[in-house]
């Protein structure tokens, strides 16, 4: 029985696995909300480990903070919200499996997540088949460009941020720009929009360089950009490489002003770039400087209250990722509140789609049957980094 020992081994292992009482309360198809004081069960697929851990952890903090606040205030129509967390470890295969588990075994009404664009796209097929809405916190435009009635998005996609930044650069008289972007999803997505919208914004891209995550030096790319003598340099990057680019540019005595998008709207960028961050301008939402919301407005109240509560609970100011998560759980709670009749995944999806004028951190959301992102350019503001922090550059 030599050759087929491997088959016997495989058979034994599979049978053992099948007998694990894994099934649990496997509910097939979309979950019913149930009545009375039973909690609304919402799933959350986040990158708590792996490369995107820096996004997932603040997102989880924000969701836990908001769920506690909502439940303390009596929940939604008297029923509390219960969030079940799954870590996808920045791996698309795991995010898909997590989504299936949340739908089948936890019977969730909706799934908040994932932190990354790829991980979000991996969950779509299963969520759509099971009829469970996804509220993604990832910034890739493809999430809502490649439209699906079951997929919503809270952060400002490049589709909105890029034109805004390009317009600001044109307004400041920079007609020729040098672009440097990372080869990850966010960078490529941003670069596509820059090349597409440069003309409209009255700007020409005279240098177009890229770099890879993990690269330790971008001075070659910047030397090439410097040779093209642009009026300004646009950085479309997420992660720690953006700070290196700012440093390299300063060391190369490049005089051009630096511009960027929400990818560099992070405290780590300022710490990493040091003085090189001074004078860098970036376009993103209003969370960085609450005054941007305009004192006395509802969004100002929402933002300052969230920022102070977050700081009390976790000791640091919330970053843009915490803001995306705040909106995600907030939109779900708001939609739940607006459902008349039976609360199901379907009715929750419809309610989400009818969200209009909901004031969140990333802006005032108005979804529709064709727009599941709900934000416009007027949620954007231009900041300038001065004295190690952001200041409104208006």
């Amino acid at each position: 029985m030599r050759g087929t020992k491997v088959l016997a081994v495989v058979a034994a292992v599979l049978l053992a696995l099948a007998c694990l009482p894994v099934g649990g309360c496997s509910v097939d198809g979309a979950a019913e909300g149930g009545e009375g004081s039973e909690p609304y069960r919402i799933g959350a697929v986040l990158s708590l480990t792996g490369t995107y851990a820096g996004l997932g952890i603040p997102e989880k903090n924000a969701i836990e903070l908001e769920v506690a606040r909502i439940n303390d205030a009596g929940g939604v129509g008297g029923r509390p919200i219960e969030v079940i967390y799954e870590d996808d470890a920045t791996d698309a295969a795991k995010s898909q499996a997590a989504a299936v588990r949340l739908i089948d075994e936890e019977g969730v009404l909706a799934i908040i997540g994932a932190s990354g664009t790829g991980q979000t796209m991996a969950m779509r097929a299963d969520a759509e088949r099971a009829g469970v809405p996804i509220i993604s916190m990832a910034g890739g435009s493809v999430i809502t460009d490649d439209f699906s009635e079951w997929v919503f998005q809270t952060p400002w996609p490049n589709r909105i941020v890029v034109p805004f930044v390009l317009d600001q650069m044109a307004a400041a008289g920079h007609t020729s720009i040098g672009l440097i972007s990372d080869t990850g999803g966010y960078g490529v997505d941003g670069r596509d929009y820059v090349l597409a919208h440069a003309g409209e914004a009255g700007v020409t891209v005279v240098a177009d360089e890229t770099y890879n995550a993990g690269d330790t030096d971008m001075s070659s790319q910047l030397t090439k950009i410097r040779a093209a003598e642009p009026d300004a340099v646009l950085i479309w990057a997420a992660g720690k490489e953006a700070a290196i680019i700012a440093r390299n540019a300063r060391q190369l005595n490049m005089t051009q002003p630096l511009y960027g998008g929400s990818g560099i709207a992070r405290a780590e960028f300022i710490d990493g770039a040091g003085e090189a961050a001074e004078g860098v301008r970036l376009g993103t939402g209003k969370i960085l400087v609450p005054e941007a919301f305009g004192e006395g407005t509802e969004s100002y109240e929402v933002a300052t209250s969230f920022i102070s509560r977050y700081e009390d609970a976790y000791g640091t100011k919330p970053d843009i990722f915490a803001g995306h998560a705040y909106d995600a759980i907030g939109l779900v709670a708001d939609a739940l509140g607006r459902i008349e009749g039976e609360v199901t995944s379907d009715s929750l999806r419809d309610a989400l789609e009818k969200t209009s004028g909901w004031v969140g951190i990333d802006g005032t959301f108005t979804y529709s049957a064709t727009d599941h992102n709900g934000l416009t350019q007027d949620e954007m503001v231009l900041y300038i980094i001065e004295g190690g922090t952001w200041r409104l550059d208006r």
Binding site: M1, V9, V13, L48, A92, G118, A122, V188
Partner: protein, 332 residues
Amino acid sequence: MIRTRLAFSPYVAIAIAAAAVAAVPVLSPDRYLLKVLVYVGVNVIVIAGLALLFGHAGQISMGHAAFVGIGAYTSAYCVGHVGLPWLVGALAGTALAAAGGLVLALPALRLRGHYLAMATLGFNEIMYVAFREARGITGGGDGLGGISYPEVAGLSIDSPVGVYLLVWGVALVVLLLVANILRSRPGRAMRALHATENGALACGIDTVGLKIRTFALSAGLAGLAGALYAHSVGFISPGTFGLDQSVIYVAIVVVGGAGSLAGPVLAAIALTLLPYADALIPGLGKDAVALLQDWEADIYGIAMIAVVILAPAGIGGLLTRLRIGRAGEAHV
């Protein structure tokens, strides 16, 4: 010495294995377990190929994830863009990956050990750039979604049970074919090549041809696994086929035990399931799950070290000691 032990005829063993595979969905209709078992089945096919090339023939390859990627992207493109049926796409993916194996066999003729590891590692990194940049075909960094379910003879296999049965059906066939090869002349020639290339040459073994064919077969199996993965999961991105996945495959074969097939297959099952253990172990509290998920990478690393320290000959070595195998008998 007439062997008195009850010699299972191979067909009985195949029947048992097939019955077990079929029984799983009946015993536990849980979609999550079936989806995870699809990941396991895909890895078992890749590991069967790598156990052949690396475990038996001693040719290290740090680029096998790239072959999986070639298979996945090729079949997704053939089916998605060119509109070919899945079976044709899968075969095209397997063939192209095998061709990639042929290309990679050329350096293997001149390089040994760490240098061959670097050449195959370089191949993996170059293919990663290709997957990322060939956006027309691969969808680039954001990945390729909406890949259709496998369809055999016009019948679309889109239910979780159907996909599971397809993947594990192919896995069982692959295991049987690889087991047969390892028990026959090519398998013995591979073990000879692994022991000493000069000794193999002195036995008249065409080591050049053997390396090329083994690389091509091993890479082809990885491509087949890729084709199955792409259409069962529906979404692939360059990151899935990166270098760290190739390193994991090599580690699985070593943990499994270089000289056997059952060992690496068991190691593939165990190490693929480990990241999902938090959901599979019944009765874990919420924070126990969170803790397990948070420390999963550490547990994975420690588990690998523990197995190779406790069982230097790997799980395969343990299996042999359990079964009073004849000394030096090639245990498959």
